[in-house]
Subunit: 215 residues, 4 copies
């Protein structure tokens, strides 16, 4: 099995992006699967294009995109990407779309095809706080998640994909008393447990009740 | 114009549900539109069925479902309902579904057809904190939102619909120092401004950039 | 009985200060007591001086200072003021003290002499979320609280005093999805219930357990 | 130099207390100073008594008490302990005091005599989010902090003391999406950096402005 893992470059004035910092720490092989880590730009449309180039080049069996969700306490595996762009701040190329579709001919949303619940369970089993998230936002993270699931659906039959959001790295919030964070090494371990679950379960997720929401 | 507004009964051990408490305070007429308020049960499938009965009975031009999102600070207008059920706690009939589709033949998600941005803008203009939310959760609120958008799409051509989540009412959190809330009277005013925007804009939303997320 | 109530002018880039906005809405008489509301500057040392001038002028029986604690969900009555200044941002005169005592000859701290618990209870009884706070911070609010309790102790025998922190007013956070707030009218009602308790209980507080903390 | 470090046993239904879990991981020697770690009970009055016994037995130069502050994001060094007990939940002996003084003849408050700012700075320098806290609460943590500073002041001339609050350990919040936490190993490293600063600075704190609050 071959797994392509992507992390974004820094954006929004931050000096690092914990997503790519963690991806860089991943071993080259996890449970027998080959792991290929690449950096992609925090830019609408270009981010997904970079992923596509890498899919064509490496022909992976699974694609795991990783991004920063500043403010979240644990590592979250995203359930769904939506066909929508709305940006509070400019991306790294200066784009700031509002109320736009990502793909005119796309579904309203796609569910992740990686084993979301098994990934969360494997992280928890290994002492890493994690949960399912039901929104990947409307910025470049969702743009990549949605676009990759769209292209897998249309062009890369059998390849599974999905998105993981990680908290701020500790070094990003050293003097900010109210912001949650995680050491980059812990984030990297979390991603490793995610990949273990992908290798073990593929698209056949477990059906444990992991909580959901109460609203 | 005729607008059907629904609010849930209390759940999760709470004595009141701010959604229906606020719906009860709505005037019978807003900007010339007739407002019909009803209570629906916090029960998977039964909640949406009650809405359908009311649609058949009152033949509204718009359906606005209102629910409680405990912990949120402002009134949020939901952008999207997803085809997924996952319950952290039992609903009022004892159901606790996990990892289930709502409709086997439904889309993965539906976007709200009420003017989400115009509603948020009208609340802000009137001093009520509000924003767009991109997840209605996976509990009965999302079950109603998704199911109603599904039925409007399949059976009630031209009727628009969507969902608004309101914070805890003040009386629910009197001694809880860290939980946000809103006076019920303020919540009711917020819903009134939502309905004003529905009357004025129908399904033709404004395209102002209201921020979105940065992840 | 005569009660002096103070509210700060805006600071930190805000256009209003909910403290003084609410003080302005107070009735001139509450439960038979005369209420005198004044504005004081958000400036170290000068804030307390303004209070002293007003005490000399009006000869009140109680002094209630009110300030903004952005981010708090309910109205909090402060238990203690500490002899310490440390400022994250400049005050309205450009001062930014660090690690300084307020009074070289003062106690390390003073407890409020107004009936903290009775005030919290009366707000809760009237549907306003509230609790005791055990830190008034280290900025101008604490400077005023500590300095006023110091001067009451040294120079104004029999006059009681204390501090109430109020949340952001709704209009300050209209588009900030994660910040708690309260309508100014509700804040003003909360202050009115505080004053009712001061009139009724004076310095003889009730001894109900209101919770405290668990750390 | 000899440093006594204490950690509480678990309370409030938790299976572990990250404070003592971290204390157990400390090296026996840090920067040439001997480190003695002990567990103390989460019980009013008994907690401080255990510390006193240990002071008499080990004759340390500094006492560092460590407790859990569930919900905080970083490691916080407490500035002040107050003469007040108010318990939301029972302690491990069933005590639940309300509105009580800790010491009838004690000051209203004591400031920590360990180098609070240098400790925070040293943690930040080593990539651990941390800040000064101005409230140790009103439960057993503050009971220990206040009582120890009281006894150092009255009976153990020259011995310095203070309190550090640590976040939940990761394993306590694995499935709680909104609670901040830290790996126990990271907490232990944080305590090590605190002790380094105590060894280096003693009671002579640095005077850098570390921010304080803005209310």
């Amino acid at each position: 099995m071959k797994i392509l893992v992507t992390g974004f470059d820094p954006f929004g004035g931050e000096k690092v992006n914990p997503a790519f910092e963690a991806v860089k720490l991943l071993p080259k092989e996890i449970k027998g699967a080959e792991v290929i880590g690449i950096e992609i730009p925090t830019v609408f449309t270009k981010g997904p294009e970079k992923v596509k180039e890498a899919i064509l080049k490496y022909k992976p069996d699974a694609v795991l995109n990783v991004g920063q969700a500043g403010g979240r306490c644990g590592i979250t595996v995203e359930k769904v990407g939506i066909n929508y762009k709305e940006a509070r701040i400019k991306d790294n190329d200066g784009n700031q779309p509002s109320a736009q579709l990502i793909k005119e001919d796309g579904e309203t949303a796609y569910f992740a095809s990686i084993p979301v619940k098994a990934m969360v369970e494997n992280m928890r089993k290994n002492n890493i706080p994690s949960s399912i998230s039901y929104t990947a936002g409307t910025y470049v993270c969702n743009d990549v998640m949605y676009s990759v699931l769209y292209m897998l659906d249309k062009e890369f039959d059998g390849v599974i994909g999905g998105f993981v959001h990680v908290p701020y790295a500790s070094e990003q919030v050293l003097d900010k008393a109210n912001l949650a964070s995680m050491p980059v090494e812990t984030i990297a371990k979390g991603l490793e447990y995610c990949i273990e679950a992908i290798v073990e379960f593929g698209s056949n997720d477990v059906d444990t009740n992991l909580g959901g929401t109460t609203h």
